[in-house]
Symmetry: C2
């Protein structure tokens, strides 16, 4: 276990140290909830102001061309593509994860008409499961969602599986899948695969083209700091783009949106995954946020994620009796760390009262997200110390901490 001084030394030598200044860190706060909502990049604040006061207020409708509003889903998409190994032109920013999941799930199922099983696991983000359940109920043609334990996924990929739909990093336990191995097994069995990268993009190395992923969706308001609720992204492998036809289409996915043809003709490429007009203010915030990543090495991000998590785990385990939820080693873990914790909600309230921000996930998970682009090693150490102190002093045991229910 490292000492506090050793953590400070790591911060001094951190090759990503210069990044922290690009984000607004509230005074005296240790923010470990970037896996839920990322800090505000200062450039995003300035960009939104320009988008409102110049582009919307003054230039109005001309901004669609003049300020590149039309291309934003693609310009941002290509910036995200670099972070997840998606290649240029294969990823577009639009709608939400759930809506995008619906599109690619529908496209994938239509490509495997003789198979009826959507395979997922119990650690999948619930909304993805809801999308699949809604889909299966609606089709009423025998399509069904089958969920198994995360560790049982590989063996469950049998010849009746049309689509494997998985979240890379478990939102509670931080358990990470072996994306390459599962993708290979899916393909060997004739199935297609959809990866949800909500807790991966911007925190972990992902190589979508390298592993041959068919589809992926992801989130931009966590580690990518795109602003609260900023639109999601969707990736389709280049070899599938002409074939993959989403059930949900709209004019932004038309080959010629401004021909206003009454007949839908899909765009040839990734653009067919677009549908309606997107929220421009959020897109502009996101585009400015992504500009902070242009000089960032994803291996350095991943190494630092590892270091931060390890410092925290070691320090918590050294001075408390909490049990780690999920795996210990970085190769199988995401960038957040979760512990099982009795009265976890109240404990987290006590942390928050000390301006150390994590979150709680029912039934008993306290969760701490480490964002390598702005969190420091000493923050991980200090947060662990505070947590252990709170547990030792029982300072969580107050009616106001125990009473409320969190919703985030």
């Amino acid at each position: 276990m490292l000492t506090r001084d050793q953590c400070l030394e790591l911060d001094r030598n951190d090759p990503l140290r210069h990044l922290r200044d690009r984000y607004h860190v509230p005074d005296g706060m240790i923010y470990l909830d970037g896996n839920s909502l990322g800090l505000m990049p200062k450039a995003a604040r300035d960009r939104v102001r320009k988008a409102v006061e110049q582009e919307w207020a003054e230039d109005l409708i001309t901004s669609w061309n003049k300020h590149g509003w039309f291309r934003l889903p693609h310009t941002i998409g290509d910036k995200i593509a670099r972070l997840v190994g998606a290649g240029e032109g294969n990823l577009v920013v639009t709608d939400t994860i759930s809506v995008n999941m619906f599109k690619v799930l529908g496209a994938a199922l239509a490509m495997r008409p003789d198979r009826k099983v959507i395979l997922s696991d119990t650690g999948d983000f619930p909304s993805d499961l809801y999308v699949a359940q809604g889909f299966a109920r609606f089709m009423s043609n025998g399509t069904q969602l089958k969920t198994v334990a995360p560790e049982a996924v590989v063996d469950a990929i049998t010849s009746d599986v049309a689509v494997v739909m998985l979240t890379d990093v478990d939102y509670r336990t931080s358990r990470r899948h072996d994306m390459a191995a599962i993708t290979r097994k899916a393909h060997d069995s004739g199935a297609l695969i959809i990866w949800d990268l909500a807790h991966s993009a911007g925190a972990l190395p992902v190589d979508l083209l390298g592993i041959g992923a068919d589809f992926a969706v992801g989130c931009t308001y966590k580690y990518l700091n795109g602003s609260p609720g900023s639109p999601g992204f969707v990736f389709v492998h280049p070899t599938l783009q002409k074939q993959a036809m989403p059930p949900l289409v709209g004019w932004f996915g038309h080959a010629e949106p401004f021909a206003f043809d009454t007949q839908f003709t899909p765009s040839a490429g990734i653009s067919r995954m677009q549908c309606g007009t997107q929220a421009v203010l959020s897109l502009q915030a996101l585009d400015a946020a992504l500009d902070q990543w242009s000089d960032v090495d994803m291996q350095a991000i991943s190494s630092k994620a590892h270091a931060l998590g390890t410092i925290f785990i070691d320090a918590v385990e050294a001075s408390s009796s909490l049990t780690l939820a999920g795996p210990r080693t970085m190769s199988t873990r995401g960038s957040h760390v979760s512990f099982h914790c009795q009265n976890g909600y109240a404990v987290m309230q006590a942390m928050i009262a000390q301006r150390i921000i994590g979150d709680f996930r029912a039934p008993d998970i306290i969760r701490f997200g480490f964002a390598p682009s702005y969190n420091t090693h000493v923050e991980a150490f200090d947060a662990a110390s505070a947590l252990c102190r709170i547990l030792r002093d029982k300072s969580w045991d107050r009616p106001d901490y125990l009473a409320k229910k969190t919703v985030t």
Copy 2:
């Protein structure tokens, strides 16, 4: 035809005159494109700044409760509901028109399993038609989209029609449907009806509950000034809310989103039409924009829309040979006015060069949107004069005006 002085007199006596100051009007501009992107309300600018600099930057994840982010789709929805006669709790703001159309189309079709026809008209906004086409192709169970001329809709509602899907105001010609009569005929024939209010909400009186509409979708960035690409809305009649099950569901539509149950249980009310996390910055802009409507009488809005359009039509027809596209009387017309115009694209460029902003829709439509909350009577008069002068002087006949293609 009114004189310019009479228009000035109307402006002096305009009961909605005080509203204009709530919006930012660019210097020297006559903005007649509020049917595409509404002007910026000054309160929206201030609200977005607060949302970025305080809520996101400082309060971060706590803002979901502290600043009511979770409730925004409903709080805004209820404000819009007043403008379209939807009643409280029946309308929610989320996603885009196309995505919402998909949800309600799926819900409606599932409620009429023995019928296979979606009926629409050739004046429907193309993206709605694309949604229906995508849906029909995907179902491959005989579901088909049938389109007829707008004036033939009533007679085409036969006993095989499951759903009538119509846009109230034609985006090109401004032709308005008789919503009450068509809804009645649909119900008499056992069909359900979906109204697209993109060009109606905020400009015309709409009474969804009064006419007994089953479903409606709409847009917030036109006459409601919610910011570029701000989210759409969806209405479900209270008697159908427990029955209407969208094919596309997600965690925000769950009865208990933060229970993180692996099984989807739909919320009992309109909330099931929500799906994923929405763009908060755009929602905040929209909420501030809607606050400008709390004291506005929709009958006064509608009367002024009528007056502005009539001034413009009369003045253009008096001094040019242009042909009006669509109806002349307000009872069958929306709040924009369109003329057929040879070289319409170049003519519009010449208008824009004089800071009079309308838009062009292929093949030959020049379109002018009158937003009763900020446009004045004299603006309508001056825009018409400028248009006639441009036509008379052929000042549109320049290579740079003729060459380009508009995309908005």
